[in-house]
Amino acid sequence: MATAEYETHEHDVLIIGAGGAGLRAAIEAAAQGVSVGLVCKSLLGKAHTVMAEGGIAAALGNVWPEDTWQVHFRDTMRGGKMLNNWRMAQLHAQEAPDRVLELERWGALFDRTKDGLILQRDFGGHRYARLAHVGDRTGLEMIRTLQYHAIHQGIDVYMECKIERLIKDGDRVAGAFGYWRNTGKFVLFKAKAVVIATGGIGKAWKFTSNSWEYTGDGHSLALWAGADLIDMEFVQFHPTGMVWPPSVRGILVTEGVRGDGGTLKNSKGERFMFKYIPEFFRSETADTEAEADRWYEDKKNNRRTPDLLPRDEVARAINSELKAGRGSPHGGVFLDINTRRPADYVRKRLPSMYHQFKELADVDITREPMEVGPTCHYVMGGVRVDADTTAGTVKGLFAAGESAGGMHGSNRLGGNSLSDLLVFGRRAGLYAALYAKDFGGQLTVSSAEVESLARESLEPFSRSGGENPYAVQAALQDVMQNLVGLIRNQTELQDALVKIEGLKERANKVRVEGGRAYNPGWHTALDLRSLLTVAECSARAALERRESRGGHTREDYPQLDPEWAKVNVVLRLKNGSITGSREPLPQMPDDLRKLFEDRQ
């Protein structure tokens, strides 16, 4: 049999992606006593989670005893403009505190309250100071804790290995096929269950906080295997990315700056956020600078500053200021923490922001304001999953973290990602392991399918005359930045889809030089397939949704539309083409619905 010529590994559960969700899934699956393989594109511990800064949202109630899972649930749903899968948001809010405490028992050292408990910080859209954190390097603490815990659990880790396609046996997932980046040799994984935990799609945009890895691999693997994706129109542009110098444009500036006292100002020195308080959040937001200033010291008797509105609101506000010509010299707005907070406080609370601006932009944030602007950061959409089990719509497929959809609705609150990774990473590992244990029968993998995948993957080496894959990638990033950005309209989205079709043609002709061993040109050529797929998904879903909500703003349909509040845009592959349909949202039970009527 032809597959015998490829290195082959068998596992009960194969997890693709080793960020927070993948690592947490691997730990849980291993705890169930099944054999676990964990595949990652980079070295272990380098996944995108490492860059998360602000914190992990969890209603621990250490700073505000009033905080409960119900309040966290309510904030999350409102932040997502009620489009969230209510059950995911409920499980997330209920289980996040346990997941944080568990990290602590595995060695994580969060900043402390005066009582020796885990300190929590303010963040956008969260009613109470809720984010467990370590300065502004919470993601590093989280991934390192999970990594050092995982390496003692008997998990087989496959580093610098890229999965190209899921393999199916009939209607169920049976494994995955990919290559080692080091050697370029192919590798076949047979598995009873596969967990997608590959993160996001941000590398399809030009200005992004995301690394080279974020090419939508898991989204595409799932779609190609016949699974549904939802909510792909919702892409979060984080309001505060660096804007200068050009080579660092897009790199993240944590929301923790605003949580810890930073305010946004335009070129006239105005705190412009007061002009952009939407009706939806008016009753809980300070409408004068005086009240907002008092809120930092007395949160009980004052409403929160509009600087901490959810990210979609702040990003749109910054965009409007820029359009009105009130931007900073390098095309951003000012983010100022030095006037409210002393230098020692800034260095202690925000050490990597201090370091990042000092080293990369020659700006001392303890003395002068930062210049910031929106940057592509996160995709709310992803694999459509069952809330409790994280099972996708194809048998044997599970998904968690950024690659799963539904949890965050149309807009994710800051801090809800790290908690999402832990809560649903654990659930994915658990239910994938249970599925694998229940699995009867044998897995068979079609050698013809594997052969054709291998041939297809090697094609770029044998083409003549085609262009450099980097040129196609850059062209796609321009298309998405210009036509599927923060503000969209029908004409531009249609234009984007036409241009993506053209880029697919170009991608099919790219040529790579050199050999198969650690060849980034080849890797980029292969990544183009998933990158173009998720770009099309995002543009197609954005064209479908004719309203503005969360991370999807249509200038031709600028309002929230109650009819659109009832449906998800679902994408699936039909005869090789991506097609969209509207399907009803799961209905929230009355006892939870009440939480939205009780207050304000």
Binding site: G45, M51, N182, S247, H355, L360, Y470, A474, A517
Partner: protein, 253 residues
Amino acid sequence: MATFTLQVFRGDATGGGFKDYRVDAEDGMVVLDLVHRIQATQAPDLACRWNCKAGKCGSCSAEVNGKPQLMCMTRMNLFEPGSTISIAPLRTFPIIRDLVTDVSYNYEKAKSVPPLRLRPPDADGKYRMWQEDIDRIQEFHNCIECFLCQDVCHVIRDHDEKKKAFAGPRLFIKIAGLDMHPLDNRDRRAFVKDSAGIGLCNITKCCTEVCPEHIHITDNGIIPMKERMADEFFDPVVWLLRKFRGQKATRTA
């Protein structure tokens, strides 16, 4: 804008050499930007690792003009416009290709470190820790695993035969962080002496000098650990007492 000549190592375990690339640098650029520019325009198959491009992930370590550093945090304005800059892979680790090396030694050693063993919680079931007790360990937790400290450590770099029983500075601060952890109650002294080889470190502080996170690896991590070992194994008073009582040097973990 200035133009530089980058001499980049191209090759693998079978051999190779430096190749010159002329590259333009714009305002604010770092070495990694220029490497990316070479990939995009001149040599798409040039191998290098990177992820965050902001000094947070520790992937893009290389020896720039002979000095081990992160390419993403090395600004081009540090160099004379028009000058020639050499970029080589970390010398200590076996080369895979171009700027990419096999750093699996570090991951293997990491697995050998005895993990946290949790002490019981407080009476109410909670764990309490005080900020002043964890400040030092949080410093160690800043480690981004760029392995620059491992690259410059003389024991690892120049004494291949000793690597078997030597963990290196990255893992010394990992162990120190566990040993100082308020919730940990494991004894790692035998491990530190026999398997991690703390005695081989002669505190030249090369590791501290290259740390992009400015962790005081030697002063805050290695020296206190050496002192504890000295108290345990080499203190004459302890040695005499033990002689009389017939105790062994180390409790097993």
